[in-house]
C-alpha cells in the first residue's frame, strides 16, 4: 500500500507501469486517473486544490485499508496532488491489483467514491470571471450508499 500526497505533478504512465509490473500472483490491475477539465462556458485558468495536511494522509490510509479488508487485493496505490493545476493536468490516481478483475474494479470504485467525499480536499476554479469553490455534489454523497 502506498499513499502519496504531493504538490508536484506525477507521471501517470510511469506510475501505472511500475504498479502493474512484475506481479505473477495478481491477474488484474485497475487504474483511475482524474484530469483537470476545462470549463465549456468560461475557460478555466487554474484549478487550485487545498487540503488538510496530516488528516489527508490519515483519511487516505483509512480508505485504502478498508478497501484491502473488503476485497482480496494484492496492492493499492493512491497519489493525490494539491496546489494549482491547469486543464489537462492529472490531479490524482488510484491503482488496485487483485487476483480477479471483479475485486480490482470494485476496490478502485470504492476508493474513488470515498476519496471524493471523505478525504479533506477542496477544489477552487479560477476563471476570467473570478474564483469559485467547487460545490460537493449530492450524487457523490449518494454514491457511498452502495458500499
Amino acid at each position: 500500500m502506498r499513499i502519496v500526497v504531493q504538490k508536484a505533478p506525477f507521471d501517470f504512465g510511469a506510475e501505472a507501469g511500475a504498479f502493474a509490473a512484475g506481479r505473477t500472483d495478481m491477474g488484474a490491475v485497475v487504474t483511475f486517473t482524474g484530469v483537470v477539465r476545462d470549463l465549456p462556458d468560461d475557460p478555466l485558468k487554474v484549478m487550485e486544490i487545498e487540503h488538510y495536511p496530516g488528516m489527508t494522509e490519515r483519511a487516505l490510509e483509512k480508505i485504502a485499508t478498508e478497501a484491502s479488508e473488503r476485497w482480496n487485493l494484492g496492492d493499492v496505490l493512491v497519489i493525490h496532488r494539491f496546489g494549482p493545476m491547469t486543464p489537462g493536468e492529472q490531479i490524482m490516481m488510484v491503482a488496485t491489483a487483485a487476483p480477479h478483475r471483479v475485486d480490482a474494479f470494485a476496490a478502485a470504485e470504492f476508493l474513488m467514491d470515498y476519496l471524493k467525499s471523505r478525504a479533506p480536499f477542496w477544489k477552487k476554479e479560477i476563471t476570467g470571471d473570478g474564483a469559485d469553490w467547487v460545490a460537493a455534489k449530492d450524487e457523490d454523497e449518494a454514491a457511498l450508499d452502495r458500499w
Binding site: 496530516g54 488528516m55 490519515r58 493525490h80 490524482m92 479533506p120 477542496w122 467547487v134
Partner: protein, 81 residues
C-alpha cells in the same frame, strides 16, 4: 485547543487557524461561542448543514464531545478526486 478553517470557511473567517480557549462541551457549543464573536464568524457558521467538522483529524458530528480534543477543524463538504 487549535481551531482550523479550510476553503471558504477559512476565507470568510480570514485566517487558517487560531488557538481558542473554550470550555464548550460539544462542537455545537463551540460553534455558538465562535458565531457570537464577530460577523465574519456568524457568517461562516450560519448554516451548519453546509459544514463538516473533524476532531483530531477524524470526521465527527456536531454533537460530539470536545473533552480531550486538541485540534478542531471546520470546512465545507470535501471535493477531492
Amino acid at each position: 485547543m487549535q481551531v482550523l478553517y479550510f476553503a471558504w470557511v477559512r476565507e470568510r473567517i480570514g485566517l487558517p487557524r487560531e488557538e481558542i480557549d473554550s470550555s464548550a462541551a460539544t462542537v455545537r457549543e463551540l460553534v455558538s461561542e465562535l458565531a457570537a464573536r464577530e460577523d465574519r464568524y456568524a457568517m461562516a457558521f450560519s448554516d451548519l448543514s453546509a459544514l463538516r467538522v473533524a476532531l483530531d483529524q477524524d470526521l465527527a458530528d456536531f454533537d460530539a464531545p470536545l473533552a480531550g480534543v486538541r485540534e478542531v477543524a471546520f470546512f465545507p463538504p470535501m471535493t477531492g478526486g
